[in-house]
């Protein structure tokens, strides 16, 4: 089963199994992970599903849309060049093993 690795802000990590079409946010909330709130339910409207994508994976993600870019300016934890909204990362087979770090705060 393909999976995404979520690294919590305290360094612990969770390997979450996922599949084609599911977003990284959905995988995380389905597994009850703390650290992703997803208040808008994946509609790219809340910025509470913020993650830092491991630098080695960043280039393999599709470019972000304008609304994601604008929302990332308002994240509770600082925006970094590796910041993305996990609800906008749709899983594809090439993303098997994707590593993302969770920020300290989502609100």
């Amino acid at each position: 089963m393909p999976a995404i690795i979520f690294i919590h802000s305290d360094g612990k990590s969770d390997r979450v199994e996922t599949g084609e079409g599911e977003s990284a946010m959905q995988a995380a909330t389905r597994h009850g992970l703390d650290g992703i709130l997803a208040e808008c339910g994946g509609n790219a409207m809340c910025a509470t599903c913020h993650v830092y994508v491991d630098a080695s994976w960043l280039a393999r993600l599709p470019d972000m849309a304008d609304d994601e870019d604008a929302l990332l300016d308002g994240t509770a934890s600082e925006r970094r060049p590796t910041s993305r909204l996990s609800c906008q990362i749709k899983f594809t087979p090439e993303l098997d093993g994707l590593v993302v770090k969770l920020p300290e705060r989502q609100v």
Binding site: G32, E39, C40, G41, N43, M45, D67, A70, L71, G74
Partner: protein, 404 residues
């Protein structure tokens, strides 16, 4: 009365004689919500000749297929293709892509997370002040003195409205939300008395009447960037006047009513005030201040095996979806630690509430202030319901508080 061969007969859609806009229904909608959910994934309501969806999966599906289930023919019972709307339609709520995409982008920017960071301290300070005043009173009406007084103390200022005439705001919103309903007494009376409220609102939406720096002025500033026209800007301000106040009044009212009714949840919040934001969100799921919206089909479509013709109204029971046992564990309990993500109290898809961040901020800072300063909230009199075709909330909730 259904004529044979009408679209409603084409599949085995259960017909129900339920009137979801009737006073008896409003008094206790939950048994009927259950009946609607259990009858089937899609039902037909003979009283108003509309289809209905009350299960989570179908409500979510309709919300997320705006090309088939459109908003431009009105999100109330009235079909704008057949009837003249009671006011010029909203250019965001009652619009479809691509027109919606452009106006939506403007409001998303004006009410973005970045903007919320700027207003947060002001909203939080006003919540503290409100709680100070309530602690002086000890016994008060939690609707008038808290759920209404708090948003009224910040939202009109945040918009940049003049001080005069603000008493029109809640009555105007009440007309707007009644008008989504069928032509029953609530709707007809509301519209009949709406002229002074409409005149006030039309006036306040003009650029000159909006203070610099407020949400209203920020909308008008987008005209200079060429993102909207000068005639569109006042209509977008109108959207905030329509949807931005009475909704949060009912949202905060719902949260206080829940916390007063369920003392174990109040105690959890007292023990950990960082749960305030989720306690508010859970109240929006549990009470669903906005109960319903309609869509209109743009083509023949099959939904959960039921064939629906073109030009049919579909009523989405957001409140019933938010308590669908197919989606939620113990749907009828108010649990402030619940994972609320995915509830449809703010809608879902392209029209999902553009003011959700404002609502959550107000709810969070208000509940935080209450939890820090108050030990106990007791209901001391019979709560009275306020009746509206779309909004669910109380008219009065007498309470007595004990300071912490």
């Amino acid at each position: 009365m259904t004529v044979s061969g009408s679209p409603a007969d084409s599949a085995s859609v259960p017909h129900l004689d339920v009137d979801p806009f009737d006073m008896k229904f409003f008094a206790d909608p939950y048994p009927t919500h259950q009946r609607l959910r259990e009858a089937g994934p899609v039902v037909y309501l003979d009283k108003w000749n509309v289809y209905g969806v009350a299960r989570y999966a179908e409500v979510h599906a309709v919300l997320n297929d705006p090309a088939t289930f459109c908003s431009s023919r009105g999100v109330g019972l009235s079909d704008f293709k057949k009837e003249t709307p009671w006011r010029p339609p909203s250019i965001i709520l009652e619009a479809d892509p691509p027109a919606h995409t452009r106006t939506r982008a403007v409001l998303s920017k004006v009410l973005s997370p970045t903007v919320m960071k700027q207003v947060r301290d002001r909203f939080a300070a006003a919540a503290e002040e409100r709680v100070d005043a309530l602690l002086d009173k000890r016994s008060f009406d939690a609707i008038t003195d808290l759920a209404e007084a708090y948003p009224l103390s910040i939202f009109p200022d945040a918009l940049g409205l003049k001080a005069e005439g603000r008493e029109h705001l809640i009555p105007y919103a009440s007309v707007v939300f009644n008008a989504f309903g069928p032509p029953n007494e609530l709707r007809q009376e509301a519209i009949a008395r709406s002229a002074p409220h409409q005149a006030y609102v039309a006036e306040q939406c003009q650029r000159d009447n909006l203070a610099p720096g407020g949400f209203g002025a920020c909308i008008h500033a987008r005209v200079d960037e060429g993102e909207i026209t000068a005639t569109e800007a006042p209509l977008l301000v109108r959207s905030l006047l329509s949807a931005g106040l009475d909704t949060t009044v009912n949202g905060i009212g719902a949260a206080v009513y829940c916390l007063a009714r369920f003392p174990d949840q109040w105690q959890r919040l007292r023990d950990d005030p960082t749960l305030a934001r989720n306690a508010f969100e859970e109240a929006v799921r549990f009470e669903s201040p906005v109960q319903t919206f309609f869509r209109t089909t743009t083509r023949e479509v099959e939904l959960a095996g039921v064939g629906i013709g073109e030009g049919e109204k579909v009523l989405m029971f957001l409140a019933a979806a938010n308590r669908d046992p197919r989606r939620w564990d113990k749907p009828d309990s108010y649990d402030i630690t619940r994972r609320t993500s995915g509830h449809v109290g703010f809608g879902s898809g392209i029209h999902m509430c553009v003011g959700q961040l404002v609502a959550r901020l107000e709810g969070e800072v208000m509940l935080t202030a209450l939890a820090r300063r108050i030990a106990k909230i007791e209901i001391t009199g019979e709560p009275k319901r306020r009746f509206n075709n779309t909004l669910r909330g109380l008219d009065s909730l007498p309470v007595t508080i004990t300071p912490a």
